[in-house]
Subunit: 305 residues, 2 copies
Amino acid sequence: MSPKIISSWVGMTKTDAAVQTLSDINPDVVLESYTLNITTVKGFETFMESLTNKNFRSNMHGSGVDLVLSCVDNYEARMVVNQACNELNQTWMESGVSEDAVSGHIQLLIPGETACFACAPPLVVASGVDERTLKREGVCAASLPTTMGVVAGLLVQNTLKYLLKFGQVSPYLGYNALKDYFPTMEMRPNPQCSNSACMERQKEFILAKPARDAAAKAQMEAEASAGTTECPIHTDNEWNISVVDDNEMESSSGHNNSAALPEGLVHELPNADEFQKPPMQEQIDDVSNDLEDLRKQLDALNAGL
Amino acid sequence: MSPKIISSWVGMTKTDAAVQTLSDINPDVVLESYTLNITTVKGFETFMESLTNKNFRSNMHGSGVDLVLSCVDNYEARMVVNQACNELNQTWMESGVSEDAVSGHIQLLIPGETACFACAPPLVVASGVDERTLKREGVCAASLPTTMGVVAGLLVQNTLKYLLKFGQVSPYLGYNALKDYFPTMEMRPNPQCSNSACMERQKEFILAKPARDAAAKAQMEAEASAGTTECPIHTDNEWNISVVDDNEMESSSGHNNSAALPEGLVHELPNADEFQKPPMQEQIDDVSNDLEDLRKQLDALNAGL
């Protein structure tokens, strides 16, 4: 952001500055900002109230939001978001950048269905002190806007895929900036998770299996019966595929296939040499006739000996 | 960008708007902007002059820039950048987003060493018309700022790695947004490339092989001789590794190893059960003594038969 914008933020909270910027970009979006520490009892209550507020989505069960995105910088705050989302059965997407700024990740957490943040805790955590004040020996703490930018881009792209239902939402996507390596994996919930709300969601998910199976079967059957009707299987035809007669194929192939390209497009490379056609039946007959002739000549020679 | 910023751009060229924004972010950077069509003869000349301008880097050979980044939207302009960089032996990094906005790529092109943009041309190209006016049937032309953001982030991250010499610069990195798939590959130059400047750079690269090999050998030997001196091999110790005596290891292992963590950190999970120690030599001796006893008893039984 430019200093001109940043100077207009002086004295504002981070959240209010974000609201101002987002309102400038799209004034039609309704935004709410909260500045609070969600790891306190009071802060957690306010956080839960903001998630269950149904001002905008009165028809939703449980929480009033479609998706929670977390971009916090410490373990404790992630565990609080995890607790709230497990209690409300709220899907969320977590993101993070490593302390040395050269790796990051995004993770989709669906209560009961995928691992929650407490299902596989880190081996070492802060205790009794603010973990942001901890300095680990030998670790170069850094901040790279490029790494943040890539991770934020991947988070928002996966948010679009999730909300607008296209493509595949990654369950976990890592980013190793030094090697441009992007590991992916799926994490099932831990049946011995220490989070009781996660354990409740896991039980509900298992109990709902027959209903999920029945719904999947009904959908399969509906699709199968729809397939027997005369309407096209695919309403769109992304690759412009059409069924053509073999003879038609033959006549359109060959050196004049550039005629099939739309106006303004040409083939960059020359066509391959035409494939040598196999000899016709008549030619083969000629060969066998020649053999017959040769045999007669040989017989004549033998007879002459 | 917010409408407030965009409104300040009205009447400006894209390049001047970019210069204004970048100057606001960092006034110490010297910026030059050109608005021209590099695919014309005059435009190409101006482009070449801007690359060979050594106002800022008088000590450089060939061109006056460290790296060219291309973010153009058509094949013709890429081929022009390719021509200029091949002629000047200038390393460049190419980037692009697909017409349907759900995939993109970045590519590092080092003249003579890696494939140039003409080494593997696309199968179909525009001819005689502005390719931006072409509309391909069945292709949904779209623009996603998220895809652009991820590709731009990867391009700038690799630029940092290249210029600041850390990590591995990707020779080619693809981005499939629908599947979060990031293919990588290396492309060697085409020995039958249609670009004559590329062919010249390829010859130079092959001729310089003995010099490269000698330099690599000299560096290896320098590193080997440096290793025989008493100074530490690694000046930094990222993982805080130290060589300790076996007895010291033993005494520090066990249940009290959390004492090794800095203040404020605790192990989140309990320690594993202590590994069962193998029986001591005395116990093994006892077993063999028991066997001796049994044999004597057996002998006594046999003698008594």
